[in-house]
Symmetry: C2
Subunit: 431 residues, 2 copies
């Protein structure tokens, strides 16, 4: 093999590695952005609850707390915006960036409406349901940014951590919505059909989210979650859920049950917050260890490369530490044939072949590791899309669309994702 | 909504659009690269056939033709390398680029071995099977680049064209391998188990490839393909396939049948080449019309943006023509509220909301259009991965792995992709 041809092979191998590093840089930035969003979402959830109580009490209670919560949310929003400021300065266009940026734009658009919503709450010129919808939509748009970050992640470990975090945040948000729906139902003495359907939808979707979370989270978070699931508050919530679905309550009973419901669900959600903090710490730790490991490699990739020898060295040498897991597979072999041959030494055909094989094994190992996370995200995407299509074409509400999918799943004894896939394929065929 | 907040929303919308344009630029480059690869693969297929005949005739025949074919392939290789030269100068890192570059490196590595293979053919110091393996592997690596280009395409129409072209090339390559296997079997008077399995694998995989091609190709190509399928050569090939699977032939019969087999399969493959040319022309036309439509938009995106007004204008204005299909959905509405408001005029909350909604509708429409192409590629990927895992963990040959998957599919009455998915999931669980 002529030297010229060997060098061309190595140039493309190096380019591939540089792309990976660029993508990793973006992923780390996205991870930090997600952590800002987690903080903001939690504060908005608190503010939503306090806003409801403030309005429910005719402005008599929770006024001071509401102000504190609003200030905390505003502070979190400021931090998020500061972090976002850096994003537009990147000249690179990472994988999936168009959707990611579009999601951010949507979330920012939602945030821009927050001051007006708050004014209306203060003036008590808005209905509780409208406040709920306002906060729910905003939180949904913020969660969509987290989903997109997970969906474009090409690092197996960070990808898993993001899938776990997204699903946990989603589950916690659904638990918050369930709390509000239950409080409304119990305090009015019972649940009509549409309220019951809304409740069941939140319970069911919550379980699905927590299942996916448990499949992808770190062991500590899984253990922490099992503790939450085994707590007496969770059993109380289960008991009250059953009552909500089956019984009508008398007036006094209703208010008492509503208070019990609110107390237990709040305990449960607070416990969730602690699990979420563990997930955040895990993600943060992953990002930091990646940055540390990549430190010198990123610097090397940024520096103007001093000719081919440096490129070949970079291809085989320091970058290898970036992906310790995949590297172990190649442990039995000479680690860096180009490096061993000495800088500037001619490349043998054999050493180039080793490089090519190492790289493709490493990329395949990463693909394999990413497979499960990608599948979980793809299934979620297709389920959401099927719901949206059912809402559009059949004029269903979101709760009804959800029920339709669940019932079809049970009737046909198939997986939810399969049924959703059929709905999406049908919609494609019908145009 | 404060002006400052509105502007931030629009900045992210513009960034999203710029990412799309960057991705489109890369896709067009990848499309041109694919066209170079198509040409090279066809020439290598011809050279492979002539090499076999040259060796089979003890060097007596086809010597001159072989030289011509080698020269043509070398010329096509030179064109491909010239095109590749430009790729490394991109500073941007498009979606999926790491895998794409790694595939190119692998293909270049294969090409670098070609001169040695040719010397061995000339010196008749190599077995026919080794020549076959050499060319088959090289063509497989070149096809993998085409697959990767299709897999990272984010434009629905170009993506469909690439899926159709890849599957057609794959089917044609399998038809070429089938021709060689059949020629070997008939000329030796019959097919043993392993040769028959190899033949059945090529027939079966060919059909699958052509089915996917027909699902994604343009109408002209589909019509052209139906003509090939209805030709008398195809029926003759079918008849000879049946003989190959069921009968043993006497010596003289064998040679005669081998010649008939070679003639009919060659006619069929030549007809395929004409369909392939149609697919190439279609892809080229798509790339060119995209470039034309995008011309001024790309220039606008490259120019240093003159402040926010230009950005907002760019977000709503000329770029819109880039995606005419998705645009029609929004036809009922004001097309470019920012543009209508005049350059530099303040953005109303309403116009920003329109922009946000337009963008997310457009991205969703693109996602929907891409869904089927993505699914076809994902299924192919999981089938190939399942085969590789079966070969590795069970020590099967590729033909045996293929047969295992097909039999399981039939026994369990499931789709091939589903069975493959189970194999991959199992392998993940077993580590």
């Amino acid at each position: 093999m002529p030297q010229r041809n060997r060098r061309e092979v190595v140039r493309f191998l190096v380019a591939a590695r540089q792309c990976e590093i660029e993508n990793l840089k973006h992923l780390l930035e996205a991870g930090r952005l997600v952590l800002s969003i987690t903080g903001l979402v939690h504060r908005l959830q608190r503010e939503r609850g306090a806003s409801n109580l403030f309005l429910g009490s005719g402005g008599q209670c929770y006024g001071e707390q509401l102000q504190d919560y609003q200030d905390a949310a505003t502070q979190a929003e400021r931090e998020l915006r500061a972090r976002l400021g850096g994003w537009l300065e990147h000249t690179q266009c990472p994988h999936g960036c168009a959707r990611f940026f579009a999601r951010i734009a949507t979330a920012l658009h939602g945030l821009a409406g927050l001051p007006e919503l708050r004014e209306q709450v203060r003036a008590r010129s808005i209905a509780v349901t409208a406040v709920m919808t306002g906060f729910n939509d905003l939180i949904r748009d913020l969660l969509a940014v987290v989903f997109e970050a997970a969906d474009s992640a090409a690092d197996p470990q960070i990808s898993r951590a993001l899938v776990a975090l997204f699903n946990f945040m989603q589950g916690k948000e659904l638990a918050g919505q369930e709390r509000a729906i239950g409080a409304a139902g119990f305090s009015q003495g019972g649940f009509d059909d549409s309220l019951r359907q809304a409740l069941l939808h939140r319970i069911d979707a919550q379980e699905r989210s927590f299942e996916v979370f448990a499949d992808f989270c770190d062991p500590q978070s899984r253990a922490a979650w099992q503790q939450v699931a085994a707590s007496p508050h969770t059993s109380e919530v289960e008991r009250l859920r059953r009552i909500a679905c089956t019984r009508t309550l008398s007036g006094a009973d209703g208010m008492e049950t509503a208070q019990a419901w609110f107390a237990h669900t709040t305990h449960r959600i607070d416990a969730m917050k602690r699990v979420e903090e563990g997930l955040e710490a895990h993600l943060e730790g992953l990002c930091e260890s990646r940055i540390e490991a990549a430190g010198s490699e990123l610097a090397a990739a940024d520096a103007p490369t001093a000719g081919f020898a440096a490129l070949a060295l970079a291809a085989a040498g320091p970058f290898a530490t970036l992906f310790p897991d995949a590297q172990t597979e190649a442990d039995g072999e000479a680690r860096s044939p180009v490096l061993a041959a000495g800088i500037g030494a001619p490349l043998s055909g054999r050493s180039v072949m080793d490089l090519v094989h190492q790289q493709s094994r490493r990329l395949q190992a990463m693909e394999d590791e990413l497979h499960a996370a990608r599948k979980a995200l793809a299934e979620r995407k297709v389920i959401e899309r099927a719901k949206a299509l059912l809402m559009k074409h059949r004029g269903l509400s979101e709760d009804e669309a959800h029920r339709f999918l669940r019932q079809t799943t049970m009737n046909q004894n198939r997986r939810l994702a399969e049924v959703a896939e059929s709905v999406v394929s049908m919609a494609e065929m019908l145009g």
